[in-house]
């Protein structure tokens, strides 16, 4: 079944919650036919047998949310993902860049909606209040003065309470924030819990709320919002120059230089392109910075894939350091250094492209031709097989990609070859061991032929790995192949 939502069947997402498949999300159609989250998948299926159901992929969801969070960094570097489907943006001091709070909300909503998502946004003085207004009610922008009044009308659910606490409040008949806003602190906290009290304080701004942005904000950054989307490399470099100048001025003021730069381009198509630039020493010269940046962009301009153009750009100084000279380690440690290996892989990947490099890997399957493959370079290596206890090699040193047909004489039904001709040379077998019978995977090749492998040694001491291929009904004479060489 394909992952795409099919025709017009209601669509739900389910997850295993306490050992039962439970709906965790549904589309409008599913909702219209009476399904709701928290219902068991079996119940939902009883109601709509044609239901299209997909298992939840929390990791993919988180990844998608993170991706959306990345777009939102165009508005502020402090973006806090609030799983499963919320984002908190600290826009303090950023609104003026977008023409005020109202315009910022509209822009953010429009942009995410255009990408095909349902979205609701609100700006409020506290994270808790922004959370509440974005989900419940119609207020989009709430300022300090009206916060308390507007909150009072919202239901308790807007408080982000623990389920037990909100259940308790509901049981006590306390349904709106207004009913508890002036509750006597001590008795209230004693019953609803300290956490509920804290949540109430946080939403009202009586207590601070610590937020962890998706990535630590850079110590310094420069941001440009562009009126017209830019497409060409020249235009990008012009913006880059402005940003370099901007950033270097800030660095200079601190007497620092950047060790690691990140140049971020925000696309009209909501994709974010990031170019990292490591500097061997702390740098605060805009000219050098721009030159390195130009080189870096020059290596992989296609990676930028401008397509619809960019409408914002940011240059972060991710690592900064005091400007000073440092001695170089002239005698690096010997041996396998995982970090060095990772760096090598990164460098090779940057040069050659991810598809061109791989790591050989042993696959635990019976078919010899499928037993090794190339894995992505950063997968963990499987341990190389230990040497057999009896010192006998079961697999040849060299395996031919294609088994080569030979003519052979052998005793039936499962005797080893006595003599065979390979590449026009006749080999007399003096020693042989086998057969090792490998029948093909019945699922992949239901009518595949069985092979009997033999390890043989000829008169000259050369060792071969041969096999006989049997026909299913054994009507036809078997065929022989050499598949590898031991020495």
């Amino acid at each position: 079944m394909s992952a795409a939502p099919p025709d017009n069947r209601p669509l739900v997402i389910y997850d295993k919650i306490r050992n039962a498949f439970t709906l965790t999300a549904l589309d409008r159609q599913a909702s219209a036919c009476g399904l709701h989250t928290g219902m068991s998948l079996a119940d939902a299926r009883a109601i709509r047998p044609d239901l299209a159901a997909h298992e939840a992929e929390p990791e993919a969801d988180a990844k998608l949310l993170d991706q959306i969070a990345a777009w939102c960094e165009r508005f502020t570097p402090v973006v806090v993902p609030d799983p499963p489907h919320g984002l908190l943006l600290n826009v303090t001091g950023c609104t003026h860049l977008f023409g005020g709070a109202a315009s910022l909300v509209t822009k953010a909503e429009r942009r995410i909606k255009a990408a095909g998502f349902a979205v609701r946004a609100a700006i409020a003085p506290t994270p808790g209040a922004a959370w509440a207004f974005s989900r419940i009610g119609t207020s989009k922008i709430v300022d300090e003065n009206e916060l308390q009044d507007r909150l009072a009308a919202l239901p308790i659910a807007a408080l982000r309470l623990m389920p037990e606490a909100s259940a308790l409040l509901r049981r006590l008949g306390l349904k709106t924030i207004g009913q508890i806003i002036n509750a006597p602190r001590q008795p209230f906290a004693a019953r609803a819990g300290q956490n509920a009290m804290l949540r109430l304080d946080q939403v009202l701004g009586r207590a601070p709320e610590a937020l962890t942005p998706r990535r630590p904000p850079p110590p310094l950054f420069a941001l440009r919002r562009l009126v017209e989307p830019i497409l060409t490399m020249e235009a990008i470099l012009i913006v880059a120059e402005a940003l370099c100048t901007d950033l270097c001025a800030q660095l200079d003021a601190r007497g620092s230089g950047a060790r690691l730069l990140q140049f971020i381009l925000f696309g009209v198509d909501n994709r974010v392109r990031t170019v990292q630039l490591g500097l061997s020493r702390a740098e605060c010269d805009p000219v050098i910075m721009l030159r390195l940046l130009r080189e870096r962009l020059g290596v992989s301009p296609e990676a930028l894939d401008a397509e619809f153009g960019f409408d914002a750009a940011r240059l972060d100084a991710v690592e900064i350091a005091q400007i000073m000279l440092r001695p170089v380690d002239l005698a690096p440690k010997a041996g396998r250094d995982a970090e060095a290996e990772a760096r090598l892989i990164d460098r090779l990947t940057a040069r050659l492209g991810a598809r061109r490099i791989g790591r050989p890997q042993l696959d635990l399957v019976h078919a010899p031709e499928r037993a090794n493959s190339w894995a992505a370079p950063n997968t963990k290596t499987s341990e190389p097989p230990a040497l057999m206890q009896d010192g006998v090699m079961r697999r040849p040193l060299r395996l031919f990609p294609q088994a080569q047909p030979v003519e052979a004489i052998a005793s039936m039904p499962d005797g080893p070859p006595m003599r065979f001709r390979w590449r026009r040379v006749l080999h007399d077998v003096v020693r042989a061991e086998g057969p090792e019978r490998i029948t093909p995977d019945w699922l992949r090749a239901p009518h595949g032929r069985a092979r009997d492998y033999y390890r043989v040694e000829d008169r000259n001491g050369r060792r071969f790995w041969l096999y006989r291929e049997d026909f299913h009904d054994r009507q036809e004479a078997p065929r022989w192949y050499v598949h590898g060489l031991f020495a």
């Binding site: 079944m1 939502p5 669509l11 997402i13 409008r28 036919c33 009476g34 399904l35 989250t37 928290g38 998948l41 109601i47 709509r48 047998p49 159901a53 298992e55 969801d61 998608l64 499963p84 489907h85 095909g116 998502f117 349902a118 609701r120 989900r135 419940i136 009610g137 119609t138 009308a153 919202l154 239901p155 659910a157 049981r171 006590l172 008949g173 349904k175 709106t176 006597p184 008795p187 004693a190 019953r191 696959d363 399957v365 057999m388 206890q389 009896d390 010192g391 079961r394 061991e433 057969p435 090792e436 490998i438 029948t439 995977d441 019945w442 699922l443 239901p446 069985a450 009997d452 033999y454």
Partner: protein, 1103 residues
């Protein structure tokens, strides 16, 4: 031709998930291939050996009984075969030892355990020399130790086509020479034919919890682990011919056969009697004299004599004495109600011993159904006990015979449709979604899968992978999956039980289980007693006790009420049943039964027997119901196909309704012998239909034709009999149940208060949730009182109250002179969700003159704050003047302001009375009702429908009680909470729904077509409205649904009025933002604000 080989290392699918063939298949194949015999050895288990034994005996093939011992230490697997009976017992003890110290399903053994039990066992040591391994010192010393102790030891040389076979053979030959072991040839088969390799791979994936694509080398490289011909084995072992011929010598040594078990039932000694038979005879005649104080009828005398002689002949006397003793213990020592059921009720001995309660003088019994000399099978006595107290009886049996002589029988859990689909699909890596789609295909798998069926499920018949998967599912069906404990079958032996069969731990504590299931035990003629649990017996006993306490003069004399002293054939009871007033009574409370009652109009006990038996899939599918009803109502003449059959069928007006009658037709009309008839009955059993049914059918029909019956009639009769299978009741069983039907009806009729309280105390059982039981009791005039900390006990109890006749609903006016209740029912704490029995018993015990505050309850009863909260949720503080909300506020404050320990010294500082007051909003009645439902599943304050009545009336809904006055054919709209949805397998997709409003219940019939249109409403609605046509037939009123509406959202009005008034501009809460995009990851979660709907009963579903 002399056969020179026997495969000795066969693993069957009783080594769960490790082999891919049934024991029967393997043994049959070994015979076909010309083996001299076969040795079956499963992993630490003898679970499959009886099946292998049965088939080997049938095919006359030598079977060596063995076990593959798998150790926890580094010892290689050792296959052991006992030479004789004592050695076998040592083996079963060894396995018992390993089982008993391991958790269920595992067996922990070490080499020293084996060494202490190895005398008389022939041992084959397997050497796992694959992938270049060399024999090590441990293997050498293992071989030597066994050889020194047992005299001989064998070393398995396997030939498995891994390329190293000959190299390994040489190594093992050398090792054997060095250690004095003898080499023995084997291919270590895991299946009988190479084609099963695929299934083995699937099983491997199930075991390793992986998929076929990911399993890699866990799967087999080839399909060589099958049974090979003797000639082929000789050829493979041409380098070591002695290894092949050794198998035959080995087989000669492993002489033990399961036939030697000569199982012996414990001798029951009864003081003063020479032997069990004498004791049984004496007890039987004593019992008979007690049963018939006015003299034993001649017929009973004759059958008792006949039965006793058969029992004597078959030597079953001890067994009867055991059952009699168990019943005696339960009844006399513990006062536990019990009653035999099933075929045992065909026995006069069982009746006079008090095991069963069906009087043989008043019904016709078919003793052959129970025991026959020809069948030579052990009898099977099933006894029902009160469900809450059965464990006491089981523990008594353990105690009396000792855990070494008694254990529960096993039940073999096999792959059925759904589980097979699930596991195979998982191995194929299919998604949950596809698995559940495929699960729907299971019903037509007994036939073949048609492409259009697949298309209907959006599955592609040309998908080869899928088709392979389906084929494997089919193969897997019937495979054993694991052993579980039988519901109540106890095996008892004279000698140590673990001398006969390994015993293992059950999942439940204090239970032990043997490895054999019912059919295995039967095969070896091992007796068992079935001790089953029945909720209605608990209910009745509780009711009898209450009658004794509250109505000691119920009979005007002050005697105790019991099943025996209850007045028989009370017309008031039958009047009540004819009105289908049967909520809560035994068996006849389902919808189908209820609509049958007014048509059947039972007036005598025998009518009840028929009522119980007739609403069963057997008679319904056999098309017997309507002919019987027509004849009963006098609309059709009663005729008999022949004079001979009249004697069989006259009690049921010429229509066969009982299993015995089906058997008797076969005997009387088709000329079957009684054992043949019994074979026919077994062949009918739906599961594992065997091929014999065809020949039996021919015999049946030709027999009847030969006896002068019409062929059409013969065929129709056979079809009818076919309908029975497992789904028809034997008359004896129906009669046993009918007794309980009568007893529960009698109580409901005369003492509805006692009946309701006892029924609630015996929950969960039966068809209806407590809310319906309570509603029904109130309708019968019983005052129901809410649970309260100052009045309630754990159980529901009776309090002095108004006489029920004062409040009798007009509907039941005819019962006025029969209802004697003068008590109200106080709901007990057991009705409240989540309370602990021990805490509540303490609360009631230290209550004294009553509690005066929540704090008082907390301090004196020492309850946990959580329990106090639960009590508050249930509104159980009313007698203190607190409603649930105030009580909850108080309860919540308890542990935060001074614990119990620091009182009274430090409490002053944090005196709860000095807290600032916080004014909680008052609770609406609707909110209370919702919370009542949440806490106790019902509300005595009001029915939700009553509170919504104005809303409902505005939508044209009429109260259910008005249905009584509406003519058939009129259209109405009714609404109520959905109590029950029933979709009987026999009703071709029709759904019966029961809706409850504040006035009555409405019975709704939903035809399949309507169901398809309103599926979400039927399944999902908790408050459901139905537009339908009234259908009234002999007092049974149904509403045939035309349209169905989900009124569940109305329930929100019960509690959210306050919210809507405050929250004027927050419409989005109730109407979340619609989704603009269909991709699931973008779907928003709703803010759930519908608690009212969630607490209402979901409706019980029955199939």
């Amino acid at each position: 031709m002399s056969v020179l080989f026997a495969e000795l290392c066969v693993t069957t699918n009783f080594s769960f998930l490790r082999a891919a063939a049934h024991p029967e298949e393997l043994v049959e194949r070994a015979k076909e291939l010309g083996h001299a015999g076969v040795g079956v050895a499963d992993r630490n288990s003898l679970a499959g050996i009886v099946r292998a034994h049965a088939i080997a005996k049938k095919l006359n093939l030598r079977l060596a009984v063995g076990v593959r011992l798998v150790f926890r230490d580094a010892t290689p697997d050792i296959l052991v075969y006992p030479k004789d009976r004592p050695a076998y017992s040592r083996l079963t003890r060894l396995l018992t030892l390993g089982n008993r110290r391991a958790p269920k399903g595992e067996c922990w053994l070490e080499f020293i355990d084996f060494m202490s039990h190895c005398e008389g066992l022939q041992a084959i040591v397997t050497a796992d020399l694959v992938k270049g391994c060399l024999p090590d010192q441990a293997l050498r010393s293992c071989l030597e130790t066994i050889r020194e102790t047992c005299g001989e030891v064998w070393l398995a040389a396997r030939f498995i086509f891994d390329g190293d076979d000959r190299r390994r053979l040489r190594l093992l030959k050398a090792l054997a020479a060095e250690t004095g072991a003898k080499l023995i040839a084997t291919s270590e088969p895991l299946y009988h034919v190479p084609e099963r390799r695929a299934l083995l791979d699937v099983l491997t994936c199930v075991r390793e919890k992986t998929t076929l694509d990911a399993a890699g080398r866990l799967l087999a490289a080839n399909g060589e682990r099958h049974l090979k011909t003797a000639d082929e084995m000789m050829r493979l072992y041409r380098d070591a011919p002695e290894a092949a011929s050794e198998t035959v010598r080995f087989l000669e040594g492993a002489k033990f056969s399961l036939d030697e078990l000569s199982y012996q039932y414990p001798d029951e000694t009864v003081e003063g009697h020479a032997n069990p038979q004498a004791a049984l005879e004496a007890l039987s005649w004593q019992g008979a004299a007690k049963r018939y104080p006015d003299g034993i009828p001649d017929g009973v005398c004759a059958s008792l004599e006949r039965e006793l002689s058969i029992v004597c002949q078959l030597n079953f006397a001890s067994y009867f004495l055991t059952v009699a003793d168990i019943v005696r213990f339960a009844r006399e020592e513990r006062g536990i109600l019990c009653q035999g059921r099933g075929s045992a009720a065909n026995s006069t001995i069982c009746y006079v011993l008090g095991v069963t309660a069906v009087n043989p003088a008043t019904s016709s019994l078919l003793f052959d159904r129970f025991i026959s000399t020809e069948r030579n099978e052990p009898p099977d006595i099933d006894v029902d006990f009160e469900h809450e107290r059965r464990e006491e009886v089981i523990q008594y049996v353990y105690e009396k015979y000792g855990r070494h002589r008694a254990a529960l029988a096993a039940t073999l859990i096999c792959y059925r449709g759904r589980s097979a689909i699930r596991d195979v699909c998982k191995a194929f890596g299919y998604s949950e979604d596809r698995i559940s789609a495929l699960s729907k295909t299971q019903q037509w798998w007994s036939k073949s899968v048609k492409p259009e069926d697949l298309a209907a499920l959006r599955l592609d018949a040309s998908d080869k992978r899928l088709m392979t998967c389906l084929a494997l599912v089919k193969e897997l069906r019937g495979f054993p999956r694991h052993l579980s404990q039988h519901v109540g079958g106890l095996v008892i032996t004279r000698e140590r039980l673990d001398d006969i069969v390994p015993i293992q731990n059950a999942a439940m504590e204090d239970r032990t289980v043997v490895e054999w299931d019912k059919s295995d035990l039967q095969e070896l003629k091992i007796l068992k007693v079935d001790m089953l649990a029945l909720g209605m017996l608990s209910c009745l006993r509780k009711a009898f006790v209450m009658i004794g306490e509250k109505y000691p003069h119920w009979d005007g004399k002050g005697g105790p009420l019991s099943l025996d002293t209850m007045p028989k054939e009370d017309p008031a009871v039958y009047d009540m049943l004819c009105r289908a007033d049967s909520v809560g009574v035994f068996q006849v409370e389902s919808r189908a039964q209820m609509s049958m009652l007014p048509r059947l109009r039972p007036r005598t006990f025998y009518d009840l027997v028929i009522e119980v038996a007739i609403v069963r899939p057997g008679p319904i599918q056999g098309g017997m119901v309507h002919p019987y009803l027509r004849r009963k109502q006098g609309l059709e003449e009663t005729t008999y196909p022949s004079e001979a059959l009249k004697s069989v069928l006259h009690r049921t007006l010429g229509v066969p309704l009982f299993q015995e009658q089906a058997m008797q037709i076969a005997i009387v009309a088709a000329g079957f012998s009684p054992p043949e008839a019994d074979k026919l009955r077994r062949a009918m059993a739906t599961f594992r239909r065997v091929g014999t049914i065809g020949t039996l059918r021919d015999k049946f029909i030709s027999g009847m034709v030969a006896n002068g019956y019409q062929r059409e009639f013969a065929e129709a009769s056979f079809r009818q009999i076919e309908g029975f299978g497992d789904y028809g009741f034997p008359e004896s069983h129906a009669a046993s149940f009918a007794l309980l039907v009568y007893a529960s009806c009698w109580l409901k009729c005369h003492y509805p208060d006692v009946f309701a309280a006892a029924l609630l105390n015996a929950q969960p059982m039966g068809f209806y949730a407590p809310s319906e039981i309570v509603r029904d009791a109130r309708e019968h005039g019983v005052e129901m009182r809410a649970p309260d900390v100052n009045f309630s006990d754990w159980d529901n109890k009776l309090e002095t109250g108004p006489a029920a006749i004062e409040n009798l609903h007009p509907r039941h006016a005819s019962m006025e002179s029969h209802v004697h209740s003068t008590h109200a029912v106080r709901l007990g704490f057991r009705q409240i969700n989540g309370l602990r029995e021990d805490e509540m018993i303490r609360l009631a015990a230290v209550r004294g003159r009553g509690y005066d505050s929540v704090r008082d309850v907390w301090l004196r009863a020492g309850l946990s704050p959580a329990s106090i909260e639960r009590l508050a949720d249930a509104d159980a503080f009313r007698s203190l003047g607190l409603d649930r909300r105030d009580a909850l506020w108080a309860a919540r404050g308890l542990n935060r302001v001074g614990g119990q320990e620091d009182l009274p010294l430090f409490s002053i500082a944090a005196d709860p009375r000095r807290e600032v007051d916080f004014c909680l909003p008052p609770m609406l009645i609707g909110e209370h009702v919702v919370e009542d439902y949440r806490a106790i599943g019902l509300s005595l304050k009001a029915h939700p429908a009553a509170l919504l009545r104005r809303e409902l009336a505005g939508r044209g809904v009429i109260p259910a009680e008005q249905l009584d006055g509406i003519k058939s054919g009129r259209n109405v709209r009714v609404a109520g909470l959905v109590l029950v949805r029933q979709r009987p397998g026999t009703a071709s997709g029709v759904i019966f729904m029961t809706l409850q409003d504040e006035t009555h219940i409405a019975n709704v019939i939903v035809w399949p077509k309507t169901f398809e249109r309103f599926r979400p409403e039927v399944i999902g609605a908790r408050l459901c409205a139905v537009d339908g046509t009234v259908q009234s037939e002999s007092g049974v009123i149904h509403v045939i649904a035309n349209r169905i509406h989900d009124f569940t959202p109305l329930l929100a009005k019960l509690s959210s009025q306050a919210l809507t008034t405050v929250l004027t501009n927050a419409d989005e809460v109730k109407r979340p933002v619609p989704d603009t995009h269909k991709h699931p990851r973008n779907v928003r979660h709703k803010l759930s604000l519908e608690p009212a709907a969630k607490v209402m009963p979901k409706g019980r579903n029955f199939h």
